[in-house]
Amino acid sequence: MIKGLGAKLVMRDAARSAVAVGGIAVAVLIAFVEMGFMNGVVDSHLRMVEAARGDLVLLDARRSHLNKWDEILAIRLPQVRAVEGVVAVSPVYQAGKTFRAGPDQPDHRIVVVAFPPDNPPLDLGWSADTMALLRTPGTVLMDRLSRSIYGKLEAGQDVWLEGHLMRLGGFVSLGPTIVIDGTIAMSETTFRSLEPDGGPEMAVVRLAPGADPAQVKARVTAISGDSVQVFSKRELFDRESDYLMRVAPLGLLFGAGMAAGLFVGLVICYQVLYVAIRRRLAAYATLKAMGFPNGFVLRTVLEQAWAVGLAGYGVGLALAALAYHVLAAKTGLAIELNAARCASIAAACLAACTVAGALAALKAMRTPPADLF
């Protein structure tokens, strides 16, 4: 029995199939790159939330997203510490400063993050050495994932923050965002030398073992009133993602790019299939004359669409993996492939090819077999 007539038609028409596969691969690559930028911007923005070593995060009520900095009233932190179920409340200070790697180097803006050094509220890939260095006043730790504009830095060298001489003790890991080129971490004490009156932008709350986060959150909210927003990490993830996707609105911008890419794939797939069907119209009409139903013709064309779609997706995925590697290295953004993202583009690609195949098949399905005589 002959199986996969459509697949045979694709395989044995190598030149035309290669054109279709190439076109779809480019469309898939465009969709992946658009998705990569979108997720890269969002995921990079969420690194700070991901790094929080605690169960709840406190933000000032005015801070509608993490790119907007508003200080929490300092008095709130000891109040929250006193709430039943709370073990620790750690402030996180953030400030934009000028950074200079040497006396004759240019200034660059950098974000300073600071916190109490004994139990840092952010996971920045600590080692025993970097934890010890963090406790040393006047010593700072550079985010090694920062963009290359800051130059080649080495542990032990002098750096200047807002004109203050500091010692670069070592390196931690956080990563830039679309608006932040680099980050430098320091202790609360060192930060005070730069900003004597600066308050925390965020606080990370650790709960006692067994404490119910929802109940503690309700208690914290009750004592803080309207001045503080309280989030679980998941809630803050969702809020920030929603802000970037809907309000920013990255979802629309990059979503339109992805849709355009897939539309290009659909058009290419349709065009190649349509030309192939026109060329074989008499053969399809013969199938119908012999007694094959229109469903068989549709299946045969869809098989071709899926075959070129899958091959195009495979090539596009390989190109996307390469593009992601280059883009992540160049931008510092968290541009990463994962199974869910690969599956979503695969599904969209196959859906586009199915639509293209069905539209192209109409030509063969509508051709009356009587015209063969």
Binding site: M1, I2, L5, K8, R12, R280, A282, A283, K288, G291
Partner: protein, 248 residues
């Protein structure tokens, strides 16, 4: 589609048409392409359909082949009345008919073996796994293609391709075979193989062949020649008389 036999006395017909008129235009003042056609095709009959261009041969062929719906009169094919037949019923009926077209219309991607296996899928319930390897090979041997079973169509001659098309039409052993100038573009050897295969189907299986041809040398194969002129069947002549008439 009614399963009732046509109310014609005394015989089972492979196809029967009564008072069939067909038009391609709505203007009643213009002549129809077929005008009050009466035609019966009996089992084991080899009938040649002949007539000048525009006489209605092709339309008649498509009506017998359930490829076109009749507009008036009565059409029964293989015991099935086509009045009011649904599209799927017509499609199912066509699986019992062998079609040979003037051009082979083979898929360029399929070898002769694969082409025949594809045709066998129409009657998949008849065949076992082994049949799909043995039966196409036997049929390709019969039409003289035993050395080219796995060749791609573009590497076959026109005659060889048409022989594949003949084998494709016959592999499911249909009771009714419709052939539209099957040898028009063939060399003598290929034409001989194609016609011999059709004749064998009539003699060995009692199949019925309705074949359009303009080649009067082929009239000798026929039991009967039906001549159309301006959409009407002309008075019957024997095949020998027709051949004699054409040779004048």
């Amino acid at each position: 589609m009614s399963e009732h036999a046509i109310p014609l006395p005394g015989k089972v017909w492979r196809a029967a048409l009564r008072a069939v008129t067909h038009r391609y235009h709505a203007d009643p003042t213009l002549p129809p392409v077929l005008d009050a056609i009466d035609l019966t095709l009996a089992p084991g009959e080899f009938v040649i359909l002949n007539g000048p261009t525009g006489s209605g041969k092709t339309t008649l062929m498509t009506l017998v082949g359930a490829l076109r719906r009749h507009q008036s009169g009565f059409v029964e094919v293989l015991g099935r009345n086509l009045e009011g037949a649904s599209e799927s019923q017509l499609t199912a009926l066509r699986r019992d008919i062998g079609f040979i077209f003037q051009d082979h219309h083979l898929f360029d991607a399929l070898t002769p073996l694969e082409t025949l296996r594809l045709a066998m899928q129409l009657k998949a319930d008849r065949y076992g796994k082994r049949d799909y390897s043995e039966r196409p090979a036997e049929w390709l041997q019969r039409v003289g293609l035993d050395g080219r079973m796995n060749a791609r169509p573009r590497s076959l001659s026109t005659g060889q391709r048409q022989c594949v098309a003949v084998a494709r039409a016959l592999i499911n052993e249909p009771q009714l075979i419709l052939a539209d100038e099957p040898t028009a573009s063939l060399d003598a050897a290929s034409a001989g193989i194609a016609l011999e295969t059709l004749r064998t189907a009539v003699l060995e299986r009692d199949a019925t062949v309705l074949m359009i041809t303009h080649d009067s040398r082929q009239f000798a194969l026929a039991d009967r020649v039906v001549s159309l002129l301006d959409g009407r069947v002309q008075p019957a002549l024997s095949a020998a008389a027709m051949r004699h008439s054409s040779n004048k």
